[in-house]
Symmetry: C2
Subunit: 342 residues, 2 copies
Amino acid sequence: MTNKDKRSPTMKDVAQLAGVSQTTVSFVLNNLSEAGIPQETQQRVWAAIEQLGYRPNAMAQGLRRQRTNTLGFVTDEIATTPYAGQILEGAQDAAWENDKILLVVNTKGNPALEARALEILLDRKVDGIIYATMYHRPVNPPKTLRDIPTVLLDCFAEDRSYPSVVPDEVQGGYDATKYLLEKGHRRIGYINNWNDIPATVGRLQGYQKALADFEVAFNENLVYMELNEVESLQGYDGAMHLMQVSEPPTAFFCFNDRTAMGVYDALRKLNLSIPKDVAVMGFDNQDIIAAYLYPPLTTMQLPHYAMGEWAVRHLIDVLDGEPNSSPVQHRIECPLIERAST
Amino acid sequence: MTNKDKRSPTMKDVAQLAGVSQTTVSFVLNNLSEAGIPQETQQRVWAAIEQLGYRPNAMAQGLRRQRTNTLGFVTDEIATTPYAGQILEGAQDAAWENDKILLVVNTKGNPALEARALEILLDRKVDGIIYATMYHRPVNPPKTLRDIPTVLLDCFAEDRSYPSVVPDEVQGGYDATKYLLEKGHRRIGYINNWNDIPATVGRLQGYQKALADFEVAFNENLVYMELNEVESLQGYDGAMHLMQVSEPPTAFFCFNDRTAMGVYDALRKLNLSIPKDVAVMGFDNQDIIAAYLYPPLTTMQLPHYAMGEWAVRHLIDVLDGEPNSSPVQHRIECPLIERAST
């Protein structure tokens, strides 16, 4: 199937050859262990992928003739908000190491601005595009991206038609909880987010999985998910609420570091000391907050830098036509950053 | 002097015609009221500027023939750090309103990367350049910028050879202190930064000026400027120190919101309530921190968005060859954001 004249194999071809549904192929490509696909089926799918030489989207586009050594970096709001700048830092470092320059356009998610930005970048013949979002979520990439090698960063297409890199939310939630369990905590309050996004679902799943591994029964009274637009107030309310249940938590796992800020305020209000009376674990390792809180916050780091780096390196591999055995959705581990709050 | 063949007038020509030094011309151009230049001299300088048709740098370059409707935005680290993203937001909104796209390159202040980025942007025929830094400071703009209309954003060239926009640090320090004085405070601790940057000097100057206007003697024992790399710890140490002087402050003015975070921790440690026992005023109105602290922080806003907007609009005016009577250094007011800590 290396002959360029032949029709490129599709996901449907892979599914037919392996004797599975396209959904199953997609799960395997995306390394979704949660989907519970038997090892043997997974192997059959990978064999079909190899036999057909199937490559989703960008990978199939191979070498472009004229290189400009510029890459377009199109994002909703990474460059303007204080949350995920390290994504751009990692992408930029990887680009520069490879003697390439990133041209960044921040679109605020405005479709007209996005379309115009892509047009301009394509006119200027960037070699490829990184399409990045401020937080991990599904996206509908603009159609123009079909015409140029593209890697999705901190987001993914529902049909997995583009390679993407995202944080491993389940592992993050699991490792955070496991760490608290290993410290001896058995009543761990979890103040979760309320949006239907991969982080909300994945971290809770990891929390539950770790409890199960330590044979601690899941107690839904210890999970707080009420809506509050201001995350620190949500943390404050959540901690106040959970400290009033009959057997209150000895540790809090917080959806993010802003939530943990609010938990700190609540525990101070209750004259409880961190970590002596109650331990607090955040998520994000957000610049400014995590290290600046008092006591400094133990937290799971969102692998922003590593994701940015991976996306650019992967895009360059695609441009160089290098074979790549990564799943379409590459998940990067969230490391635990231990400070003084646990 | 509208004849294009004539040599463009220089700052030296203006100084000679007005019978003053180039420094004086520079002070007048930059609207430096602190410099104390007599009104009459200022008028003479402006008359000379008008008579000669003097325009510093970019202004002199007039219309370029071929427009691409793209502007280059070159920055050290605005896009990657969590401090000044609103600069880019304002610039981007102003660009988009004018049907222009910003191509952003974040260079980490790496001169090789910066040179390369400018080369690429000039090759791609951007109409002009915004050269922006993450915090207000003097810069040596790369020589390439001589070849293209340029506006400096949140920075300035020492010789004022480029138009620039910066925050009004003196006004910010003045208004913060005046507000606390009007609330009845007479012992106002100031926890300042230790770097020799315009913010350190300007805010202190504003603080002193406000005290003088209210006939409160400046007490250097109430100013804390010890070095601590972590600003929240500096705030913590500063508040602990100042609360031990014989007549401790009833209010703190903090160099920035991170410093204020540390002051909050110190006051809590001392079982003092904010604002009942001690008021706290920040600076920056930093996203995440200021509104998320408990109680939410009263602070001076760095006019990041407004500066970004001004820089792009000014650059577009320059490109359109519109007469512009702004001083070379345009200073934007820092508004006071009142919340619950004062």
